[in-house]
Symmetry: C2
Subunit: 286 residues, 2 copies
């Protein structure tokens, strides 16, 4: 099973305590020195899914709602996921997971605490009501992330895992000309061809560069809180992403992400609150 | 201090265990037979705030992000709030709270589990970038909730706590003529004149009738997950609310809520996932 890069990243082993699992963040999922938050969330979801299998409630296997609070930056290396089942009902099971890594003196340092509801998403049934995907060029008419500046590619190994194609209308920030609109659009698939599933959508929702770049705010935008809703099982093929910003207040801003599958069904949505450093003299109409 | 209806609702007492508090949901905060989710969230936030005072980190007093997973319906009567501090940093402290009530055999039944980050919001500093409030009549040109059908008023005591004025363009559902747009707009303040504060915004964000009514889906829409972001301390006076729906998938839909204060500053936003029963033959263009 664990033959794709994504499946290897999500691999967990039982520990000496029920409901607690061991895994590792691979060096290949870094953005700068930290592990990408999308991978952290997917691993957390995998831990709860493994717990539900152990508890005999594996029919609730799909993430429906996921809320992660990021406490410290995850690093390449071993991790421990401790799960708790809060309630299991007819259509949903809700659980909690705490992801920790060892600190410098061997103490457990919590990376993320998350709550998650799981259910059973039905294949090939898109939403009854949804926003349409935005007009944009197809993947071949977009800018591949492999064309990013070498300095960015070398510092962020995550980009080797993803085949990311950015709408050329949204990449002006890369040459110092952000549009000021606060929007990024892209196509995404795994570089090794692994097809999407509901849990992978957690990774996809956090797969684009910070939308802050498009309103002229450079630098790292660490996620404080990230909530995703998964609405349907994605079809095979490319995922289409749109990330927008509507609110920036003080040193925090929101990123709203939407993912459509290759049939145009809106399969997932998210909103995150992230920290930013607004440059001196910045103006919203930059 | 606890002289307003809102402050009485949020009153908590220490228990025999540090970090665990006792309170009660009053009968006056019901929607049907259940306690309104907004009050449940405000009480949960108050419990973490009390914990941070006890821990000497009361400078992080304002909710910045709050995610609640609703497990069972809260009822009028005693409650217990058990808190945990996950991490306290320079600008934010993140905690967890579990709200329980006694079940029929005296066992603890969990009502809601929540994660929350608190910081220090600055007064009179609205967002640097935000959507403007929607055009709508002022409070005196809107429909007061006291004009709601007597059957609704008698079953939902919450409506007596709130002075709620609905935009007449969004109340067609009350007479069987939903607009199909999936939007509600309203003005809100506490009926007894208690001025808004950051924690009260959690209540305000969940204070309107289900937006499902406006797309022709009647009935109770129980919240599964609710995440709020608070961006600024609200000014005195009316709060202006807009609630929209963009996604309905299977038996779940989203409600996006925004709250502006009397100066037009966007002070809070939320998204919730709630359960709905789509009527047979329902169409999204109803």
């Amino acid at each position: 099973m664990d033959t794709t890069e994504y499946d290897i990243a999500l691999h967990l082993s039982d520990s000496d305590r029920p409901g607690r699992y061991s895994g590792a963040f691979g060096d290949g999922w870094r953005i700068g020195n930290a592990i990408n938050g999308g991978v952290v969330m997917a691993v957390a979801a995998a831990a709860i899914q493994r717990r539900l299998v152990a508890d005999g409630i594996e029919h609730h296997r799909d993430p429906v709602a996921f809320s992660g609070y990021f406490l410290t930056a995850s690093e390449p290396g071993p991790l421990t996921a401790t799960t708790e089942v809060l309630r299991s009902g007819r259509t949903l099971t809700t659980g909690q997971v705490s992801l920790t890594q060892s600190g410098p003196r061997g103490e457990a340092v919590e990376r993320m605490r998350a709550l998650m509801s799981l259910g059973t998403l039905i294949a090939d049934t898109g939403p009854l009501r949804q926003p349409d995907p935005p007009p944009m060029p197809g993947p071949d008419g977009c800018v591949a992330s492999t064309d990013a500046p070498p300095s960015l590619l070398s510092s962020s190994s995550l980009l080797e895992r993803l085949d990311l194609r950015l709408d050329p209308a949204c990449v002006g920030w890369a040459v110092g000309r952000p549009t000021g609109q606060g929007e990024m659009r892209a196509w995404l698939r795994m570089a090794d061809g692994r097809e999407p599933d509901p849990t992978m959508l957690l990774l996809a929702l956090d797969g684009l560069p910070p939308v802050a770049f498009d309103i002229g705010i450079p630098g790292w935008a660490p996620t404080l809180e990230f909530t995703a809703h998964v609405h349907a099982r994605p079809a095979r093929g490319w995922l289409q992403l749109q990330v927008t910003n509507h609110v920036l207040a003080g040193s925090m801003m929101e990123e709203d992400a939407r993912v459509w599958d290759s049939t145009g069904a809106l399969v997932a949505q998210s909103r995150q609150l992230c920290g930013v450093r607004v440059p001196p003299g910045w103006s919203p109409t930059a």
